[in-house]
């Protein structure tokens, strides 16, 4: 059984069709990257899998449960894009609070080690650097010892070192048997981390496979070229339909 699944999911906001029938599944121990241009429907798909928004039609399940249910929430963690995190709590306090939401959280020392926060536990969040803030958010995502992680553009705005460090933490999580749904604009990131890539455009999945398969299919060397090629082909196909 997949840990997360979307089946025939559509989402309509008034006249705007954000998703037009998406099928996506994530298996145990698998890191799936969801790629696509801005406005393609990535965030909508993630929000539906997190139970933050309801599908117009189709079904979304996490571990066989409704994504908004407590059973589903207890087994997942999420690193979402957030504009501002409360700055007057210490790193340790943020983590303690999120741990209290879960039934079997990881011990503090394990969280601090897994997110690379040693030595800054007692700093106020507002006094941290950008990279450190990101690592705290990662800590909050993993503190409940989840089986599935959602990472929504986790390395935006990070310098190369912080980005590589976060990659190492993500790989560590997958090696321990965790599953991940990653959305990103950095295709080298997907190439480096993902076992499977799904490309989404205009509310549909237009290509899916391992990074190597996708590169082979589009006869390109890099995932970035493959992505552009897929976008171009998909654009052409839509134009044919319109004609």
């Amino acid at each position: 059984m997949p840990v997360a699944e979307l089946r025939g999911v559509t989402k309509r906001y008034g006249a705007v069709e954000a998703l037009r029938g998406i099928d996506l599944s994530i298996g145990r121990g698998e890191l799936v990257a969801l790629l696509g241009p801005n406005g393609a429907g990535k965030t909508t798909a993630v929000r539906i899998l997190l139970g933050l928004s309801k599908a117009t039609s189709g079904t979304a399940t996490l571990f066989g449960h409704d994504p908004a249910s407590r059973q589903a929430k207890l087994r997942r963690g999420a690193l979402l894009q957030v504009g501002k995190v409360p700055e007057t709590l210490k790193v340790k306090e943020h983590i303690e609070l999120f741990c209290s939401y879960y039934e079997r959280p990881l011990p503090m020392t394990a969280i601090v080690a897994a997110a690379g926060l040693a030595g800054i536990e007692n700093r106020l969040f507002g006094d941290l650097s950008g990279g450190q803030k990101h690592r705290v958010l990662f800590a909050l995502a993993i503190c409940g010892n989840p089986e599935l992680l959602f990472l929504d553009e986790p390395t935006v705005g990070l310098d190369v070192e912080s980005r590589r460090a976060l990659w190492a933490h993500i790989r560590g999580f997958v090696e321990r048997g965790g599953s991940v749904l990653l959305t990103t604009h950095y295709l080298d990131e997907a190439d480096a981390l993902a076992q499977r890539v799904a490309v989404i455009d205009q509310g549909r999945i237009v290509a899916e496979g391992s990074p190597a398969e996708i590169k082979a299919r589009t006869k390109t060397n890099g995932l970035e070229d493959a992505f552009l090629e897929i976008m171009k082909q998909n654009g052409n196909r839509l134009e044919e339909v319109v004609r």
Partner: protein, 251 residues
């Protein structure tokens, strides 16, 4: 589960106490105003009661209202608008814990303001009351936070993160002035006295004044009903805002 409620409240209290723009201004402004109007003009009296005593009730109401409107209004608007509420919603946090924690902060700061005001009134304003009367007034004032929590939450559910503190001010200060919290109702022009019954702040202050045995307007039951009505209406408005927010367009 229970631990989540306790931790949420504890961390919210720590967070807001360290946030100086909240902790200093919610405590400082009512105390300062009381010093200006209650203590410096203390010898003047309104009817049978000194201004120092009368304004203890109304500035107490003003202080509690401020602590609550800011904790809910500005607090929720910022966390909602900046995406933090979404992170919490994606987590297994019990949804009620979020609101309870904001309530705990409002009640704690409300209680602190009222206690400090009482100390000022007793020490510098020569206010004397029986112990039971002090306790009753304290309880009435602190409990008054509840309907204003709903008003704050309604503001927090609609206002943008940057404009929210300004909007709270635009609501808070007129509610104080027109509700008769800054100076006794009788001193205000007649037209303003007609506006007051339409404001929740007026009903709140009138209940506190009853405890002082000051001639007040209307019946206690009527004021309680009015406050319950305001509370329910704004809780409904807040609910609409929260639902609307969830179905915003995302790419």
């Amino acid at each position: 589960m229970n631990r989540a409620y306790w931790m949420e409240s504890k961390m919210e209290l720590l967070k807001m106490t360290r946030l100086k723009q909240y902790s200093l201004s919610t405590v400082g402004f009512p105390l300062m105003f009381y010093c200006f109007f209650g203590l410096m003009m203390g010898p003047y009296s309104t009817g049978s009661v000194s201004l120092a005593k009368y304004l203890l009730a109304t500035y107490g109401a003003f202080g509690v209202m401020g602590a609550t409107l800011y904790a809910f209004g500005a607090g929720v608007a910022v966390e909602r608008g900046m995406g933090w509420l979404e992170v919490k919603r994606a987590s297994p946090m019990p949804p009620a814990a979020y609101l309870i924690a904001k309530g705990v902060v409002s009640l704690t700061f409300g209680a602190l303001v009222v206690t400090l005001l009482f100390a000022l009134g007793a020490i510098f304003g020569g206010v004397r009351m029986a112990a039971g009367q002090w306790l009753l007034m304290w309880s009435v004032l602190v409990a008054g936070a509840i309907p204003f929590g709903a008003i704050g939450l309604a503001i927090g559910s609609f206002a943008g993160p940057n404009s929210a503190p300004g909007i709270v001010n635009m609501v808070y200060l007129p509610l104080g002035f027109f509700g008769g919290l800054w100076m006794p109702m009788e001193l205000l022009p007649k037209t303003m006295q007609h506006i007051a019954p339409w404001l929740p702040s007026y009903h709140f202050a009138q209940i506190a004044l009853v405890v002082l045995h000051v001639p007040s307007q209307g019946s206690v039951m009527g004021h309680v009903e009015a406050l319950a009505g305001f509370g329910l209406i704004f809780a409904g408005v807040a609910w609409i805002g929260q639902t609307r927010d969830r179905e915003k367009i995302y790419g």
